[in-house]
């Protein structure tokens, strides 16, 4: 198991724990990793009692060889992009732990939990006010965006 680069080693460990001790509401699409360990698709179920109850969303994780010292690129993909004031219609997420506040002690599981809690705290289904401009002008990779956090409490 200890073959490959340190980032691959850590990704395999994360993979194992997601499969062997799964967290309710977080599911790995194992087909997605069969081709490439550096790209994962994870399904998350919105929490009960939240505005999104009953909805399932897909997150795409991309890791580079500096992971976990460099943050992964995380976006919503698929048909349904949650309507939320920190989530753009192209799937980009404005969340500080995905850029400035990233630390190598975070993981796929903790990122998913943070995103779920962000969804749960929403009081209104709406897009960010600058959605139209941002989605027209942004780079494909959300990691290239210099995020101005809309709200530091999230």
């Amino acid at each position: 198991m200890s073959t490959g680069s340190p980032s691959e080693r850590r990704l395999r460990k994360e993979l194992m724990s997601l499969i062997t001790t799964p967290t309710p509401g977080i599911r790995l699409d194992s087909d997605s990793i069969s081709k490439n360990i550096n790209e994962w698709i994870v399904e998350i179920d919105a929490a009960k009692g939240s505005l999104y109850e009953g909805q399932t969303f897909q997150l795409k994780f991309k890791f580079n060889d500096r992971y976990p010292f460099d943050s992964p690129s995380v976006t919503f993909i698929g048909q349904e992009i949650p309507e939320h004031s920190h989530i753009y219609s192209n799937g980009h997420i404005c969340l500080s732990i995905l850029s400035d506040d990233w630390t190598p002690a975070l993981s796929v599981q903790t990122v998913c939990l943070s995103i779920l809690s962000m969804l749960s705290s929403a009081t209104k289904k709406e897009r960010p006010p600058d959605d139209l401009i941002y989605t027209k002008t942004c780079s494909k990779d959300p990691k290239r965006t210099k995020w101005m956090y809309h709200d530091d409490t999230v």
Partner: protein, 497 residues
């Protein structure tokens, strides 16, 4: 100073010259020391090594009074922007726990809660970064109790230092923990010399940037910092020769104050589109329309068209003739004429015209100042030539001095247009404009002489003429600055903003 030593060596030639030169040096020193600073403004220029030593001295000084680890002291001092008094005051003010929390350090008097860990020395621990198991001794962490394996720490710190350029604020690697990593821990964990050097640079840089009493020399490629005893808008001279305002870091800008200069620079940047077309370096001869390119600092233009040879002023495009006499009026924007513009559109146009009037003259002196650096090299050749004609090294220094003064005058004139732009018209502002006119005309005469006429004169006459001209410039400059300073003291100046 070098020149003083040189006098000692060179002063054997003739006793008359010797006395004269000594007098001159005294005079220069007296003037440069007193001209604009009634009270001395003490400052020191520090090398990188001296900055590091100064930082360690600051920490030691605090540690003499407050008995906490030096590493904690450094973080606390950084938190208080290296203001020792403020730190001491807050430290003895009462709530030390709140102080440590605000500075993101653990109170060193409180024993770590995770003491029990030491009993588990023989046990294996999980590293939450690489997810591998390690022996206790291979794991490390700060007082917050979050522990990671040493190689993950090194990788984490290296990423922060090399890629993000952070140093004063590297926090613990645990998510949500804001306890800062101290410098001793960083240095003991790092092994790569490249990363260690970068970290030390970052620490020094943040020390200078946080410290109110220190400022990096803003000159490109200069690594000195200037240290003062109190912050003020005063000129400081770096060892590299650059003279800048300690308060704002801009090139020394007397007589205009930092606030208005900043406002002006911002305005110029915002208005770059309008300024582009006027800043262009070519104009047409007002008489024959031949395109003329400015290639020197002097504003007295002579059309190169052999059939024209028109003399005119580059700035106002007026005939040069009146500029040499007392009714030289190129510097003064005619407010009366501007007031005649009645309707709104005219008003808008006149406010742009007013701005362009000052901007044009400001930019022009800035351009000229750049050209004067070319003058240093041509003057150097002249100085060598003179030394071959039996003049001593010290005797020919007047030429370099003349260019120094020319540059000072251009720098001052440049700033007078910023001052004038914001100045409301009153009796004193009229006197100021007269002083500005006199300095400008004296400066142009010196510039023209150095750039053009000097080659055609015989060597003996040159010294007298140059000295007369630069002394007059110095005098006009002092009169102008003294008058503006007096106005600051007596509240004469009102501004249009």
């Amino acid at each position: 100073m070098d020149s003083e030593d040189e006098i000692g060596i060179d002063s054997g030639n003739s006793s008359d010259d010797e006395d004269y030169d000594f007098m001159q040096v005294d005079e220069i020193q007296r003037q440069s020391g007193n001209a604009q600073d009634p009270v001395e403004y003490p400052f020191e220029v520090l090398t990188t090594e001296e900055i590091v030593k100064h930082m360690l001295d600051c920490i030691a000084e605090v540690n003499n009074v407050v008995e906490i680890p030096a590493t904690t002291t450094r973080i606390l001092l950084n938190h208080f922007r290296w203001d020792k008094e403020k730190l001491m005051e807050r430290y003895y003010d009462g709530d030390q726990e709140a102080l440590f929390k605000a500075a993101h350090v653990i109170n060193p008097y409180v024993k770590p809660k995770r003491e029990s860990k030491t009993f588990r020395c023989s046990m294996m621990e999980d590293c939450d970064i690489c997810f591998l198991k390690y022996q206790y001794t291979n794991m490390t962490g700060l007082q917050c109790g979050h522990r990671f394996c040493k190689s993950c720490w090194v990788e984490y710190l290296t990423t922060k230092i090399m890629e993000e350029g952070l140093c004063k604020s590297i926090a613990c690697a645990a998510h949500g923990c804001d306890i800062l990593v101290d410098d001793v821990t960083v240095m003991s964990l790092l092994t790569e010399p490249r990363v260690k050097t970068k970290y030390q640079q970052l620490i020094t840089n943040s020390f200078v940037e946080c410290n109110r009493l220190l400022r990096w020399c803003p000159s490109a490629d200069c690594s000195y910092a200037v240290k003062v005893q109190y912050v003020d808008a005063r000129p400081v001279t770096c060892k590299c020769g650059h003279v800048f305002c300690f308060e704002c870091g801009e090139q020394w800008h007397d007589p205009v104050q930092c606030r208005l200069l900043r406002k002006w620079i911002k305005k110029c940047d915002d208005d770059s589109e309008t300024s582009n077309w006027i800043a262009a370096n070519t104009k047409e001869c007002p008489k024959c329309n031949v395109t003329i390119e400015k290639d020197g600092g002097c504003n007295h233009m002579v059309c190169k068209n052999q059939h024209c040879k028109h003399d005119f002023c580059w700035v106002c495009l007026g005939s040069w003739e009146p500029h040499g006499s007392s009714w030289y009026n190129c510097n003064r924007y005619d407010e009366d004429e501007a007031r005649a513009a009645r309707d709104a559109q005219e008003k808008l146009r006149s406010s742009l015209a007013r701005y362009l009037h000052y901007y044009n003259r400001y930019m022009n002196h800035m351009q000229s100042l750049k050209f004067e650096h070319k003058l240093y090299s041509s003057v150097k050749l002249k100085m060598e030539e003179m030394q071959q004609h039996n003049m001593s090294w010290i005797e020919v220094q007047f030429l370099k001095k003349a260019v120094d003064i020319l540059c000072q005058c251009r720098q001052t004139l440049m700033c007078t247009y910023v001052f004038a732009y914001y100045l409301k018209k009153n009796n004193q502002s009229m006197i100021f404009e007269d002083n500005q006119k006199d300095l400008e005309s004296a400066t142009e005469k010196l510039s023209e002489y150095l750039e053009r006429d000097i080659t055609s004169e015989n060597l003996a006459d040159i010294k007298q003429k140059v000295q007369d001209k630069y002394r007059y410039c110095e005098k006009r400059r002092k009169v102008l600055l003294d008058h503006v300073h007096e106005g600051y003291d007596k509240d004469w100046w009102e501004y249009v903003e």
